[in-house]
Symmetry: C3
Subunit: 343 residues, 3 copies
């Protein structure tokens, strides 16, 4: 199933070791020394593979599976034959993520700088980092330990990057301070001039953009995103926040911690977003707004006012989500109430 | 008209040869040996140029044109003087595409690898392929015959590409199997990790993305698109499908054959799209949906439910297109019915 | 405040010189020889810094500021103590832009071509231009004087670029004629084939795209935008127009002068946009439309018809802006008028 051309597999690991890593218990403790070599869907799993059972739709496949062990909850395990080896966990999806990362970690870095990378002599590259072909690293750049800088990536003058970061191929970064364990995918533009102009007798005059981009620890940023630097203060993306592909983050935006922002969403200038906010795909959030922590914004909404903490909104303009759904229904009913002649 | 700095012109070709290529007939068969050197708008065409007449708006220009021959239907030809040389075709737009490609084919490849390209010794490059400056090709990559890999493009470990493909400058591709005659424009990100996370006590934990991207024959992908690889299965783009610029295709999406997806549209994770589906610009299609074959989705719609085969929808949330138009009208009428005082 | 790692500071300048540059007057002409070294927010400003006062919210901070001089209007200066040194201007925001550019100009170019840049021997590079590492410049390209071509940027065969332009890292340009003082950010795709196909018995056949992209003087284009070349005529972006990140400009679009187009907006094929048009973020403008000069389009609108000069529209489909606001209100009232049982 998993194409070994593209993925690096680790292991094997004993069932006991896997159980420990996911804080689980084995139905048959005697099996703790059996070795698991891979993960697989239940219907494909062989006698040395682990399978996840997290949804009753897959009950039959799991019941018939030849897997070395099935990872599931006590409750779901009731649906399986007694002889099936179970690794009991409280949250199968979480366990699935943990086990996948165990068997398929990121490929180990090759701690070297490709001969075709162009590193300014004043740049500092941490121990164990891998710099791929054609990457360009400017003066006074600092790259931490165990980072991977992809092919053709460009780190402009003065950029700092923490430890264990991955910067995708052809991504360009300027005017930025980046934490540790940050993963930025390919084709991303970070640190460009924010979009600010002032009318003048000779046309639109650029407002200087003299701030930075600050990306905190454990952030992920998707492919082909654009994150502009601040005009005087900084543009900030808080720790643990995950951003999908093709997202726009304008100048002076502050995004809190552990937010999730789906593809093609955009946040306009100087807006502040709290912690654990969830923003759907293609959402537009207007400028100079405040979005409270744990707010949720439905896909494709257009947010034109502040959103209170914990509120869920949808629509264009965005309103509380129930109101939006009622609007949708009311509009359909409006058509039905019209006399036939008008239709 | 056509700037020869940028385009490679082929020919000349005899009228007879052109007629054969477009399955057309000449009004004056004696002219079959006359040589056509170029294509031009009717009002600019000289005595060795061909012009297309596909719209009655251009009747006057075509009637007065000095073109060697006018390519048009029998019906439209009735509007032209008898002495005008006609190349009769059933579909002038199709003939226009065929004739344009005949006179202006893609520039012939220079079958060489630029000295500054970085090719891993284990990569295999097919005969006649051109690899431009700064391209980076990783281990075990296979590139077919007569491909063009643009400047600074990055093909990561294990990627396979068929024959006669064009990969644009600075495009990055990983975890992908690509067919023949595929054209991918510049700045595209293909094969990145899909956007999947699971909550954990220490924040959002990444779900491993262990699938691939499969791009079938004759697909085109526009500039700065992002196509993520699958989580376990693959993300698939079916043969003949054409995708415009800045489009997002999320993990595990399956797109059928001969679909047309306009600029800035986005398809969320695990959605399945049939064959010959047409998706307008800035459309959002939600996750885990099924869009039937030959469905049409109006520009900027937000699709939140399955769409049946052949259905045409529009709006946000998207509804059958006539209903959407009626909603629009009803909303305007609602305003007019309100007492003046309320306005 | 301003991180000197990332920004090049010029100066110091005498107050008299600054006043002359912004066409302002000093409240205390005797201070004309005092030297200003930097700009700073009023609460942070030291005795050699200038501060801007453009909004009464900052009255207290400005009144207590240690700044060498406060730049403001005669009217706002009434709110400050008499002893405060004032540089009177009519438009503080304009003065702010002018003073910022004075103290923080773009870093001076290093007039050299990096050894790793790949320049075709037939390309012509103007005096004083800087070409960064890994840039690829094709045959018969012309780059004017004092240009900055970023790392990994790709200028394809025949492209012409005027004087004093900045082309961002990894941006790719083909089939384009670019004026002077044009600034294109990173990751932009310019000159790709427009999205045009015609059905044929063997699938969708590409319409040849034989036009160019013409970008006039003083244009700015944001990160990761895509601008396609014309099919026969050209795609044109008029002088002074400013385009934000991730914007799509399709083939044969004509954009006038001094327009402002915000992030993630898209303009479909063959649409003509007048001068000084303002287009909000995530707006979609349909194909073959005409948008009159000085029209304004609210963020996230979907424009499906022509817009008259000077008109302001919003919504999806876009209607005159007041009508859109009334629709929004009417829809909410509709819910309130429904009998409770229905809610």
């Amino acid at each position: 199933m998993i194409d070994r051309r593209f993925f690096y597999r680790s292991g094997p690991f004993s069932l006991g070791y896997v159980a420990e890593r996911v804080s689980g218990q084995l139905s048959h403790p005697a099996a703790a020394d059996a070795m698991a070599h891979d993960i697989a869907a239940p219907e494909c799993a062989g006698r040395s593979d682990l399978s996840i059972f997290s949804d009753t739709r897959y009950q039959d496949a799991c019941a018939r599976s030849s897997a070395l062990a099935v990872v599931t909850t006590h409750q779901l395990a009731e649906l399986l034959p007694d002889e099936q080896n179970i690794l009991f966990v409280s949250q199968p999806r979480l366990a699935s993520a943990q086990i996948s990362q165990l068997f398929y970690p990121h490929a180990p870095l090759e701690a070297h700088i490709h001969a075709s990378a162009k590193i300014d002599p004043t740049a500092m590259i941490g121990a164990g980092s891998q710099i791929d072909g054609g990457a360009v690293i400017g003066g006074n750049v600092t790259v931490g330990a165990r980072c991977h800088i992809g092919a053709g990536a460009v780190l402009d003058h003065g950029v700092t990057i923490g430890d264990d970061c991955c910067i995708g191929a052809t991504t360009t970064i300027s005017h930025a301070k980046i934490g540790s364990r940050v993963r930025i995918k390919t084709g991303v533009s970070i640190g460009g001039e924010g979009f600010g102009f002032v009318p003048s007798p000779t046309g639109l005059l650029r407002m200087s953009q003299l701030g930075c981009v600050v990306i905190e620890d454990d952030v992920e940023i998707g492919g082909n995103c654009a994150v502009d630097r601040g005009s005087l203060g900084d543009t900030v993306i808080g720790s643990g926040t995950k951003i999908d592909n093709l997202v726009q983050v304008a100048h002076n935006v502050h995004i809190g911690k552990n937010c999730v922002i789906a593809g093609q969403a955009g946040v306009a200038g100087s807006t502040t977003i709290g912690d654990e906010v969830m923003i759907g795909g293609q959402v537009a959030v207007g400028d100079h707004l405040t979005i409270g922590s744990r707010a949720k914004i439905a896909g494709k909404s257009g947010v034109m006012r502040d959103i209170a903490a914990g509120e869920t909104v949808g629509g264009y303009p965005a309103v509380p989500i129930r109101l939006w759904h009622r609007q949708t229904v009311a509009l359909l009913q409006l058509l039905n109430r019209k006399p036939k002649a008008e239709r």
